[in-house]
């Protein structure tokens, strides 16, 4: 049915089938109102828009565009192809050109996870008509950036005065438990951030140098101070695509 996006080597590719005619699937990408139904609306001021250039526009077949995330050097390319299956539409999304720097690594991981989530909202919208808009529900954050590793979620930067800093966390720490729940995936941080308001005091457990350490602090506002390390998470293309 689908393959989840790879996070390796600066590219992302996902193919999935949606039970809607190809003209309808195309419209979901090309019409700004339709796009908002599944991409959602970021909280005002939450994301700094980057730049965007449109490429190929072949209705019902192929759409391509390039984006430069705010705060990062260079552009990455997205190509979306549509294939009429009779019973539905096969959509393939390819993204490439992510840079090698640490900031690009963060951007790639976040934007790919975010895009996976929006694709679920796209399929939900096209197949049921319901605007799930599950993505932009963030309320709080841990005041740190992370990368997914083979061992779990590792801290890369800590924002001074935020949740992680107050809980004693340092770059390199491996997160084990948050608010009493074992954490395995980077998306677990997102679950906590969507469940709880900033200011909620929660426990955190982490590993440093072969030892388990514990801390407790108030959750930060979502994305507070972390954007500067990673560009904005999402590369939100809404405004720039108007008129496709």
């Amino acid at each position: 049915m689908t393959e989840r996006g790879e996070t390796a080597a600066g590219t992302y590719e996902r193919t999935f089938v949606v039970a809607a005619p190809v003209a309808r699937a195309w419209q979901a990408f090309a019409d700004p109102q339709e796009r908002e139904a599944w991409m959602g609306t970021p909280p005002p001021g939450a994301l700094e828009p980057g730049e965007m250039k449109l490429g190929t526009i072949e209705p019902n077949r192929r759409l391509s565009f390039s984006q430069r995330p705010a705060g990062l050097d260079g552009w990455y390319d997205t190509t979306v192809t549509f294939e009429d299956l009779g019973t539905g539409t096969r959509i393939t999304i390819t993204r490439s050109g992510f840079g090698d720097s640490e900031a690009w690594q963060h951007f790639a991981e976040n934007t790919q996870r975010g895009f996976d989530e929006m694709i679920a909202d796209l399929i939900l919208y096209l197949e049921t008509g319901v605007r799930g808009q599950r993505h932009f529900l963030f309320r709080s954050g841990i005041g740190a950036t992370t990368l997914q590793t083979g061992a779990g979620v590792r801290i890369t930067h800590v924002v001074p005065g935020g949740f992680a800093a107050e809980a004693g966390i340092q770059p390199g720490d491996l997160l084990l438990r948050l608010n009493g729940a074992s954490m395995v995936h980077a998306s677990d941080v997102g679950v906590v951030g969507r469940e709880h308001d900033p200011g909620t005091v929660v426990d955190i457990e982490y590993v440093r140098g072969g030892e388990v350490l514990r801390g407790r602090a108030a959750l930060s506002p979502w994305n507070h101070g972390t954007g500067e390390y990673v560009g904005h998470p999402g590369g939100y293309p809404k405004a720039s695509l108007t008129g496709v």
Partner: protein, 249 residues
């Protein structure tokens, strides 16, 4: 770790990853029962050391196990006779290969032999997502020395078996008297959020089940017949069998 992720509905499971320890250490993590308890089994539930104990938890049917190939530091195979909640049985074959690299060990795992039909598809999906978690625990254990045991740490249940689809998590069977039923959900509903957090994948549900004790009241939103509904319920007791459990942790 670089992992090739499998098709989410595939009945086969395949993972390849690199762990930063020598091959002898990686091998021992699979063959030493104490090591296995640090990432694969709940304490006292090692299926080879304690074959009389239900694995992974009380209430599960007995798992028959046969060890196949044992080529030290290279290749290990075993088969398990697994039983679904309706009593269907199949031998699941697992093959683990080890390859020594300058920087560590490359481990490849394949699991196959799941039966046919929806019940086995769900079982295979639960098993695969559970193995994803356990392999992350394995790497954390080998690279930090800390027994993190994150997988079997559920504290409650949403009271339904689930299937992960491209649109999100679909409820397959709602358990009478459980959270999902109390919140108004029925078989076939698509679960959209729990406690205000969007739900996209089964691991999102597992995280919520690990975060909250049974009895905690949460709001859920779900889609049925093209409309969004919401309801509140109290989380059910942890139950690996009801939620089809290798992954219901």
């Amino acid at each position: 770790m670089t992992a090739a992720k499998e098709d989410v509905v595939s009945a086969e499971y395949e993972r390849t990853f690199v762990v930063a320890v020598p091959v002898e250490r990686a091998w021992k993590a699979f063959v030493d029962p104490r090591d296995r308890e640090a990432w694969m089994s709940p304490p006292g539930r090692d299926p080879i050391e304690n074959p009389e104990k239900p694995y992974p938890a009380d209430g599960f049917p007995k798992v028959e196990m046969k060890i196949g190939t044992v080529e030290e530091n290279r290749r290990l195979t075993w088969s398990q006779l697994l039983t679904t909640s309706s009593g269907s049985q199949a031998w699941i074959d697992t093959t683990v290969t080890f390859e020594a690299l300058d920087t560590g060990t490359r481990i490849s795992i394949t699991r196959s032999g799941f039966g046919e039909g929806l019940e086995w598809d769900l079982f295979a999906q639960s098993s695969g997502l559970g193995w994803d978690d356990s392999l992350i625990d394995l790497v954390a254990y080998l690279e930090t020395g800390v027994n993190v045991s994150r997988h079997f740490s559920g504290r409650s249940s949403v009271g339904a078996s689930m299937e992960e689809t491209t649109a999100g998590v679909r409820l397959i069977k709602v358990v009478p008297g459980g959270f999902a039923e109390e919140a108004g959900m029925q078989d076939g509903d698509l679960l959209i959020s729990l406690g205000g957090a969007g739900v996209y994948r089964r691991p999102d549900v597992w995280f919520v089940q690990r975060e909250h004790d049974d009895g905690t009241e949460l709001e859920a939103t779900y889609v049925r017949d093209g409309a969004l509904h919401s309801g509140r319920g109290r989380l059910s007791e942890k139950n690996y069998t009801e939620t089809h459990g290798w992954g219901g942790a």
